[in-house]
Amino acid sequence: MTAPLSRSDTHPAFISVENLSKRFGDKYVLEDVNLHLPKGETMAIIGPSAAGKSVLMKCLVGIYGADSGHIFLEGDDVSQTNAPKRFEWAERIGMLFQHNALFDSLKVWENICFRQIELGTMSRKAAKEHAIDLLGLVGLATESADLTPNDLSGGMQKRVGVARAISTDPSVLLLDNPTAGLDPVLSNHIERIIGKIAEQRGTTVISITNDMQIARTRYQNLMMMHDGKVYWSGKTADIDETHNAHLTQMLNGSSHGPITMRTGKREDHVYS
């Protein structure tokens, strides 16, 4: 908690995470995480299961409050869930959840413009038109607006999730495993849509992925996470072969490589 609040003013980064720690009970799920991303750039977060990727993302969007450290978005400290302007900030961050988390009880268009309808910033008629525009952007037909999420296939649900995430035209787009459970063709399609959105709207994108190929080809920056810590981060172009090999081992669950950072069992090292 020692980082001065003014630091982000001097920092060129658009999103800036400083010494972020988060624990559940006694378990540290994030430890001293640092992340800096300039406006309009894209970043992939990669790492094995239980590395803390999703928790980091939920901290960024404000679902979890930080135990220590800070998250700055355009200079505003958004690291606490009780921050006074939190409900306004939600407009600036859009998030796609791992399992989409679409609202079953609502129609597709009501899902996409849920915030606008509930806050009354749009009439229902305008909201539906806006939703149909967004559906077109993610490659879905107008007719799907009146369906419910359960009428849709997995790939279609994912696209509705993306449409909901960008419905307020956020400056930051967070994607938790946007291609999980999709076949390679659909994965590519979703990644292309995301790339298009980022390019057209100048959106800053952070995306969790398990696919090194996608991370290397489609994202400018890369952050490797392991056991709640940042293992490596930098430009995608700068990954050297040692890191790549370690990372591959990490993703494959091998007991070599970066595991040597630790001295004993996982619990002994990380959670004691």
């Binding site: 969007v61 939600a90 961050i93 988390a101 915030r115 509930e118 359960n150």
Partner: protein, 398 residues
């Protein structure tokens, strides 16, 4: 065992043991034995009953229903006097049962939802109070609760002479609550008919509106239109009936209160007892329903900057009600059946009237068969309605 053994020609060449080991033969044999036992038990019961009836010189049949009941019932929703027949008396009892059950179901649902949500509140006091309420009233037998409320109400309120008047025209006494009601008038019958007609009209307008929206995408303000049709038609009937404004006000005459509508202490005790008891179960059903909704739904609403209260109403509750409907049906059935305990505090429900009928006529079998089939019918109707509702709300998975 490769060939079917139930062909008669095959049997003679096999031993009896082989025959009994055949699965097909066994399946049929077991069923014959089971059906035989049921028939035997039934025959025993019927013949035993008939023998006993004969011994006691009781003639069977439902003819007694047309006889004069010659007993008073303290609370009736229809015209009834001691001169009415037993069939009318039983109908009075049935209506009283339906009245208390229906009101109980509506109230326990409302109270149960409130306490179910309160048990999950982030506010410590609210959460603990709800827990105490649920755990207390859920774990005391409902019959004792009825006694408790019945002892409390006449004791807590004053004699009619010193009646409390919390609202103008509303009197609270040890003989129950008195409310002012409009004087009976044909206009009210007409209003009732108008309300039914309005519902039919709304149904067809809604059908048309949906058809049009499906075809052209034009939405129709169904809620406003429906409200307009209903209020308009009922109001029209009221005005056509001469707009009666006479009210029957409860007033002290002598030692008792006359006029107005009386809610008896017995009815209040039964209604409060059943409502409170069942609402604790409804609260638990609602709580489990809310907890069955994946946490991701809360998080998604949160990430969109939606407050928890709004998320609960718009996202979580619609989904949890879906899970809650089948166990909710159980509670509604329980409440209806538990209303038969009303006899314990003297509320003239179906069982109470049937008991009197039985005592006076000696037609125990007939009276019991009547109220048992009525309860069965009520429960099946409730189930049918809830199954329909469940189907309507259920998620269609593809």
């Amino acid at each position: 065992m490769s060939k079917p053994q139930n062909v008669p020609g095959n049997v003679r060449s096999k031993g009896l043991v082989d025959y009994l080991n055949d699965e097909n033969v066994r399946a049929v044999l077991y069923q014959i034995v089971a059906i035989g036992l049921i028939i035997l038990a039934g025959w025993y019961l019927v013949s035993n009953t008939l023998y006993n009836l004969e011994q006691q010189n009781i003639s069977t049949g439902y003819g007694f229903l047309d006889l004069e009941a010659s007993f008073e019932i303290s609370e009736t929703m229809i015209d009834y006097s001691a001169k009415s027949d037993y069939a009318t008396a039983l109908l009075v009892g049935l209506l009283n049962t339906v009245k208390v059950s229906f009101l109980g179901i509506v109230l326990c649902t409302i109270i149960g939802i409130i306490f179910g949500i309160a048990r999950l509140s982030s506010n410590w006091i609210v959460r603990k109070l709800a827990t105490v309420y649920v755990e207390t009233f859920r774990n005391i037998p409902v019959l004792l609760q009825l006694f408790f409320w019945y002892a409390l109400i006449p004791g807590a309120f004053p004699h009619p002479r010193d009646a409390l008047e919390p609202l103008p025209g509303v009197l609270l006494t040890s003989r129950g609550m008195y409310l002012p009601v409009p004087m009976a008038d044909t206009a009210f019958t007409m209003m009732g008919i108008a309300a039914v007609i309005a519902c039919v009209v709304i149904y067809f307008v809604k059908k048309w509106a949906k058809k049009r929206q499906d075809a052209t995408g034009q939405p129709f303000p169904m809620f406003l239109a429906g409200l307009g049709i209903f209020v308009g038609l009922v109001l029209l009937a009221y005005l056509a009936g001469g707009a009666p404004t006479d009210m029957s006000m409860p007033e002290l005459k002598g030692f008792n209160i006359r006029g107005g509508y009386n809610i008896s202490p017995e009815f209040m005790a039964v209604l409060i007892g059943l409502t409170v008891y069942t609402s604790t179960y409804v609260a638990e059903v609602v709580r489990s329903g809310i907890q069955a909704v994946p946490n991701g739904q809360w998080e998604a609403a949160d990430s969109l900057g939606i407050r928890r209260t709004v998320a609960l109403r718009k996202v979580i509750l619609p989904q949890s009600m879906r899970v809650a409907i089948p166990p909710l049906t159980n509670q509604y059935l329980n409440l209806t059946k538990n209303s038969s305990l009303a006899v314990a505090v003297g509320y003239p429900d179906l069982v109470s009237v049937s008991n009197t009928t039985m005592n006076q006529t000696g037609q125990a079998i007939e009276a019991i068969s009547i109220f048992m089939s009525i309860y069965l019918g009520l429960s099946l109707l409730t189930s049918l309605f809830m199954n329909w509702f469940n189907k309507k709300m259920a998620l269609v998975e593809r």
